[in-house]
């Protein structure tokens, strides 16, 4: 019989009491684990949101915001200025083109309609292509693309428009939000700062035109090869293609001109300062600096409060577990006072007796953890959803506005968060939580274990 065997034996000396203690411990431990899982999920979500868009600033030509284009275009020289602003880690220029199907333009010209018209992107230049758009214009498309609303009757009689295809020259393998492109097939374009006849196509656009990696198509009668396919996640986003920045500038015959600049700031804390500095460096009459997702701040701060609440609850539940252990062990030490005296009388060192009690406490905690982990994995989903809904609908932040051409609803609401909460109940998180529980239990058990050192062996010679 070893110290450990004796501890295990002692833990089951009073089975009814052991069952009760384990049940109470399991509730506390289960709650602690559930809170940790919720906390990890929210922390992960916040980090993800911050990482994805939180540090990206967008620079548009002054007055170019929205559909009513105006002002002077941005230039490569301004990109150099922007890159010199403190805390700016990268500046990527883009040049947007509106691609119209050459055959359709010809047909429209024949029917007396001007192909060009309607509200365009702020500084998009229209060029012809062999591609057909993946989206049917529909009522919205016709209204938007038709001659600016003066002759509605002609629109009804005329053949339906198709939407233009958005082609964007990019200076790095990122989309308009500064996020890395999700390539589903093929490779990237390699060097994005040099001219290239390669292009990346949205999946639906490629499908519509029967193209795959290696196929060719034309823009302005120049032949381009499909190097890769990407999935932007939206119908609009996938009705688009990317070429390198110099290529787009050449196609538009506007070398050195940029539609937008995507500026990445080195950290979340520096975004506000960098935004002010950038605006000052470029001049407010020349450029507008906007933060991609303004209401992200609200979403993040509301998630932050969920994070804090769950962390406090985790610590509280952990403390409760420690307190339960402390109280039960104090009780056991008092109850076995005489026995402890006997062990000392026959020469047991204090540390052996202390160890025996700590191990006994750990046996109880181990049982509580097993039951608690089971409870937590069942309960963490509903606890997290309760937390999130109680923190208000701001947690389920809606998509972004103010940046035409980008996918809406960049991050999801509560349901998506819940998916990640469930996913966060990973063995790693549970193991971390259980390690914390054991740490607290050792501290809780140490106090009564140290109390045993004060029991004097003579106690055994006195009756109860």
């Amino acid at each position: 019989m070893s110290v450990l065997a004796r501890s295990v034996g002692n833990a089951f000396r009073n089975k009814v009491r052991t069952a009760a203690v384990v049940a109470v411990l399991a509730v506390a431990i289960g709650l602690a684990l559930a809170m940790l899982v919720a906390n990890q999920a929210v922390t992960g979500k916040v980090a993800e949101l911050n990482a994805s868009v939180g540090t990206v600033l967008t620079v548009n030509p002054a007055g170019g915001q929205g559909f009513e284009g105006g002002g002077e275009p941005l230039t490569s020289a301004q990109a150099v200025t922007a890159a010199a602003v403190p805390n700016v880690s990268s500046v990527v220029g883009t040049k947007a083109l509106r691609l119209r199907n050459a055959a359709e333009i010809a047909a429209q010209a024949a029917s007396g309609r001007t192909g060009q018209g309607g509200p365009g992107g702020q500084s998009a230049t229209s060029v012809t292509t062999s591609l057909r758009a993946a989206i049917d214009a529909g009522t919205l498309g016709n209204r938007n693309q038709g001659t600016t609303g003066t002759s509605g009757s002609t629109a009804q009689a005329a053949p339906a428009f198709s939407l233009p295809v958005t082609a964007t020259g990019i200076g790095a393998e990122i989309d308009a939000d500064g996020k890395a492109l999700q390539l589903t097939k093929g490779t990237g374009l390699g060097n994005y700062t040099g001219a290239s006849t390669g292009a990346l196509l949205g999946t639906t656009l490629a499908e519509k035109n029967g193209l795959s990696v290696g196929s060719t198509f034309t823009i302005q009668d120049k032949t381009f090869t499909v190097k890769g396919l990407f999935d932007a996640g939206t119908a609009f986003g996938n009705n688009a293609l990317y070429v390198t920045l110099p290529t787009a500038q050449t196609l538009a015959a506007l070398p050195g001109e940029l539609s937008t600049m995507i500026v990445t700031v080195n950290s979340m804390e520096n975004v506000d300062a960098a935004k002010t500095a950038l605006q000052a460096a470029l001049g407010s009459s020349k450029a507008d600096v906007t933060q991609g997702q303004r209401n992200l701040q609200t979403a993040v701060s509301s998630l932050d409060s969920v994070k804090n609440i769950s962390f406090i609850a985790f610590v509280a539940a952990l403390g409760t577990a420690g307190l339960i252990i402390l109280l039960i062990m104090v009780m056991l030490v008092r109850e076995r006072r005489r026995e402890i005296g006997v062990l000392k009388a026959i020469g047991a060192p204090n540390r052996t007796i202390g160890l025996q009690f700590v191990l006994e406490a750990l046996v109880l905690v181990a049982l509580g953890s097993v039951v608690g982990a089971a409870v937590a994995s069942l309960a963490s989903g509903s606890i997290a959803s309760a937390l999130i809904s109680s923190s208000g609908s701001t947690g389920a932040a809606t998509g972004r506005r103010g940046f035409p051409g980008g996918p809406g609803g960049a991050f999801g609401g509560a349901s998506q968060l819940l998916t990640s909460v469930t996913a966060s109940a990973s063995p790693g998180v549970i193991a971390t939580g259980i390690a914390a529980v054991f740490g607290v239990a050792i501290i809780g058990a140490l106090v009564p274990a140290l109390l045993t050192a004060r029991i004097r062996p003579i106690e055994v010679l006195r009756g109860e």
Binding site: R338, A345, I346, A348, P349, N350, L461
Partner: protein, 264 residues
């Protein structure tokens, strides 16, 4: 060798002070088998607990092989109890939820004896105190008083102590088993040079000891050894059922302490 010097232990009960041990001095050579008799409440258990370092004296000192217990820190006293002392408690003080075997193995565990060796020796010791083998693995609280007493004796012998302090070790035993225990103790003192101090009301046991002490109101006096003169021990001690006193069973039993010896 153990020297007891002017040992005093007082207790306060209300406004009265009782002195169960009042200026006790004596010496015991190694290998001596000694007994203490005295009325109930005369302080015998109190004196034994002072010698066994379970309690600390109000004044005076116990010197064991030249080492004084008086100034010893608690950790050293624990080592002393583990290595040098075998204590048989008046109330046995076994661990109730452990088996007889586990109880006997405990002091060896604290002394760092390997598990297999512990079990082997514990079985031998239990056999020597004549506990049925089928009761070795039985939990203590399912053993009779006399069986528990024998387990307590076996436990006291576990670490081959130099000094055995036994508080009425035969109090719960029938005459025959009691005599066997007496023989066991005699053999230990004679063949293993173990010093043994026994508190007893048992005339037969007292008569077999080399030296006999009497504790009376905290004062210790030694009785002169006059073979056959059992009447020398008088007073409160219950009369021996037989007057024979010294004639005991054959003392040449098996070697009781060596782990190498198996008992049949």
């Amino acid at each position: 060798m153990i020297e007891v010097k002017n040992l005093v232990r007082t207790f306060k009960s209300g406004d009265r002070t009782i002195k169960p041990v009042n200026d006790v001095s004596f010496e015991l050579e190694r290998g001596t088998l000694a007994s203490i008799v005295g009325k109930s409440g005369s302080g015998k258990s109190t004196l034994l607990s002072l010698l066994g370092a379970l309690d600390k004296p109000t004044s005076g000192d116990v010197v064991v092989n030249g080492v004084s217990l008086a100034g010893m820190p608690d950790g050293k006293l624990t080592n002393y109890r583990r290595r040098d002392i075998g204590f048989v408690f008046q109330q046995f003080n076994l661990i109730p939820n452990l088996s007889a075997l586990d109880n006997v193995m405990l002091p060896m565990e604290f002394a760092g004896v390997r598990k297999a060796a512990r079990a082997e020796r514990a079985r031998q010791l239990l056999a020597q105190v004549q506990l049925d083998p089928d009761k070795h693995v039985r939990r203590i609280n399912r053993l009779s008083g006399g069986e528990q007493q024998r387990v307590a004796i076996a436990r006291a012998l576990a670490n081959e102590p130099k000094l055995i302090l036994a508080d009425e070790p035969t109090g719960n035993l029938d005459e025959q088993t009691g005599e066997h225990i007496i023989d066991l103790l005699s053999t230990l003192s004679r063949d293993h040079n173990t010093t043994i101090l026994v508190v007893t009301h048992d005339r037969a046991l007292a008569n077999k000891t080399d030296r006999r002490f009497r504790l009376q109101q905290g004062r210790l006096t030694e009785e002169t050894v006059r073979p056959g003169a059992t009447a020398a021990v008088t007073g409160s001690a219950p009369a021996s059922p037989d007057g024979s006193g010294l004639t005991g069973p054959d003392l040449s039993g098996p070697d009781l302490t060596s782990p190498a010896v198996r008992t049949a």
